[in-house]
């Protein structure tokens, strides 16, 4: 397959690993922001192949994991309303909120359906004019343009029974918030690939400028990630911090102008509630006033009540890179993919699920 096999070439991979071993002299700590990178790193066993000088941490870039319980509770409360069809990406179903989950609400007889895109939800609204179809809008800048397009489509076609629960989050502001928290000392960041395909690489410029931290945008194949790590090591060894792209086939420095315009037309920047981090100003998206009639929160009366977290769950500090799943007392014992207590064990890309499935301790 074009664009897969050539980025998995084991010989080239081994050469890159050798180069990283050769160049890396200083002990450094790198964070992959995006959970897609975390999965790829574990799936290909990349951590084991790096020199001891390099420590890799996983960041908060899992859209399901960072969804706060209060927001999950809202989705579940919406599901209990009469004449409502909830549409969602599949992974959200199993995430436990404070008292229930969408999966449980579905088993109780509420109409909750998995869709593969927001556009499917718009079609569903069109086909079910006597129901309200609510799409649970989670994700980062990657998914936001498609949700924006769905709103514009609904507007154009006069579909008034389509709504979204707008929980979108933004990457660069949360990176800044994490760096300002100062809990984790970082030397370099593996910047997200898909998000950067939309926003480009310019929005990360504050990271080398203000924090002296290396930044390289990476793709998701093993060679992409190894090249990214090699470039980060180079920046750190030479103390020349900048934003670079190791994923040229996917990312342009200026990003995708059309997608950005779509997002900007429909959404404005506002605060967002992040699991483990809390409410961060200017780190999320909300619908502009003109599109408020599509906003589920503004059009349905719900009272999800006070939210609470599973006792002992440390997903929050795992998402901040302060702890790893291996630090959690519940990991593997009380919290497993079959009986997850926290979102990082539910999402296929969550750190806990990744550590669990790919055996983090194996070979480390």
């Amino acid at each position: 397959m074009k664009f897969v096999n050539e980025y998995r070439d084991s010989e080239l991979g081994k050469k890159l690993i050798d180069r990283i071993h050769h160049h890396s002299t200083k002990p450094i700590r790198l964070m992959e922001f995006c959970s897609g990178h975390t999965v790829a790193i574990f799936k290909h066993g990349i951590r084991q192949l790096l020199p001891q000088t390099i420590e890799m941490l996983s960041g908060p870039g899992c859209p399901i994991c960072v969804t706060a319980n209060i927001d999950l509770d809202k989705a579940i409360a919406l599901a209990h309303l009469p004449n409502v069809i909830i549409t969602t990406f599949g992974d959200m179903l199993r995430v436990p909120g404070s008292h229930s989950s969408l999966q449980l609400a579905k088993a109780e007889g509420n109409d909750i359906r998995i869709v593969y895109s927001a556009q499917d939800a718009v079609y569903m609204a069109k086909d079910n004019p006597d129901k309200s179809v609510i799409f649970i809008g989670i994700g980062f800048e990657t998914t936001a343009p498609t949700i924006a397009a769905s709103i514009l489509q609904a507007e154009e076609e006069g579909i008034n029974n389509y709504h979204i629960l707008c929980l979108h989050k933004l990457c660069p502001p949360i990176m800044k918030a994490l760096l300002d928290l100062g809990e984790v000392r970082l030397n370099g960041i593996v910047c997200p690939g898909h998000v950067s395909a939309i926003i480009g690489s310019y929005p990360y410029q504050f990271i080398p400028d203000d924090y002296g931290i290396a930044c390289v945008v990476s793709g998701f194949e093993p060679l992409d990630i190894l090249l990214c790590i090699d470039m980060l090591v180079n920046q750190i060894e030479t103390e020349q911090y900048k934003v670079e792209i190791a994923y040229r086939r996917g990312v342009k420095p200026e990003g995708n102008k059309q997608a950005k315009l779509l997002m900007d037309t429909v959404f404005e920047v506002g605060e967002a509630n992040w699991r483990g981090i809390g409410v961060v100003p200017l780190s999320g998206l909300r619908l502009r006033k003109r599109y408020e009639r599509f906003d589920a929160e503004k059009n349905f009366d719900i009272n999800p009540g006070p939210s609470s977290e599973a006792k002992g769950c440390i997903c929050g500090s795992i998402l901040r890179g302060v702890s790893t799943p291996l630090d959690c007392k519940l990991f593997r014992h009380n919290c497993t993919p079959e009986h997850p207590l926290g979102p990082c064990m539910v999402s296929a890309e969550g750190s806990c699920a990744t550590y669990y499935h790919y055996g983090a301790s194996y070979g480390e």
Binding site: K14, H44, R94, E338, Y362, G363
Partner: protein, 334 residues
């Protein structure tokens, strides 16, 4: 008026009788079935293997097969994986009212073809019709019996360190072919489902080697689940190599797109065999001679380390655990 299955077709009365005679017995008939008694009566001697499986795949027609072919191959393969020679099958339909009769007859015809290829007979059956919405078009249950030759001893608990692991061909074709037809996700894959009866392949390798320890068809849960079952039940470790696992590039591409791992995708015409190292090459050669085994490969071995665990050497040379599938990756795939 288009000819459709009505509730009355399941009533046991005249319409039922006509449906059975015209749509089922005319195609599937044989001396045992034709008697239409309450039970099929036949002679058997030796060690019996007996299995049952229900089929709820959606959509009922998919590239490379349909629910009927699947219902025969699934049960034939379950018998074959115990080392049994499959002989007789039962066939039970639960039909949603409104199913076009020509679709039903098309499915019966592929049941006939699959049974004919596998050399098994449908000897008894049942038909129920339910209200619209109480089933989704058509559900099928098949049960099957076969005879296990006295010298054959195959079980997931029989793997021993040193054994080679043979996979009979490309992974994931069935799951991806079915998924490609789903509403909301239609995409073109140039490869059909691998749905096929494997009893002849099994008979050929059992004739070739007396040292086949485990056999299983990696259906739901995929190859990872099968390998984990072997490791767990035999209390051995299993090591496989990523670079040796055959996957069609179109399946790989679809998996990349959808975030799936081919190791977890269902197959309906593949087997995993655990074989003594001395016999592995000749068993592999035999599988490759079979029309359903041309892409077969030795993908790993049984080790006496990490009992109960499957570990894969990645193409970069690192190692990682291959876990069992948790939850449901793709609903209603078979």
């Amino acid at each position: 008026m288009e000819n459709r299955v009505l509730l009355a077709h399941g009533s046991g009365g005249k319409l039922s009788h006509d449906l059975i005679a015209k749509s089922f017995v005319s195609t599937l008939g044989n001396p045992i079935l034709n008697k239409l008694d309450d039970s099929a009566v036949f002679e058997l001697s030796g060690r019996l293997a007996f299995t049952t499986d229900s089929f709820i795949v959606s959509p009922i027609f998919f590239p490379g097969g349909d629910i009927g072919k699947l219902a025969v191959c699934g049960t034939v393969n379950d018998l074959a994986m115990s080392g049994a020679t499959p002989l007789y099958l039962s066939l039970s339909f639960i039909i949603e009212e409104g199913l076009p009769i020509d679709e039903l007859e098309k499915i019966v015809s592929s049941i006939y073809q699959a049974a004919d290829e596998a050399g098994v007979k449908i000897v008894t059956g049942d038909t129920k019709v339910v209200n619209q919405g109480s089933a989704d078009k058509l559900f099928i249950n098949t049960s099957g019996v076969g005879i296990v030759p006295p010298e054959v001893n195959i079980s997931a608990a029989n793997a021993i360190p040193g054994d080679n692991i043979i996979l009979s061909g490309n992974l994931g074709n069935h799951g991806i072919a079915v998924l490609s037809q789903r509403e909301g996700l239609k995409f073109q894959v140039p490869i059909p489902s691998d749905c096929a009866p494997l009893n002849k392949m099994v008979a050929e390798i059992l004739e070739t080697s007396a040292n086949i320890h485990c056999l299983r068809d990696p259906t739901r849960g995929g190859a990872s689940t099968t390998l984990n079952d072997f490791a767990e039940q035999s209390q051995v470790g299993i090591r496989i190599e990523e670079e040796k696992i055959p996957v069609h590039k179109a399946v790989l591409a679809a998996c990349e797109l959808l975030g799936f791992d081919p190791l977890y995708i269902a197959n309906e015409g593949k087997l995993v065999a655990v074989v003594s190292p001395a016999d592995a090459d000749k068993v592999l050669a035999k599988i490759r001679q079979n029309q359903y085994g041309t892409e077969a490969a030795i993908i790993g071995e049984v080790v006496n380390k990490h009992p109960g665990q499957v570990v894969m050497k990645t193409s970069l040379g690192a190692s990682r655990i291959v876990d069992v599938l948790v939850g449901e990756l793709l609903p209603r795939i078979c």
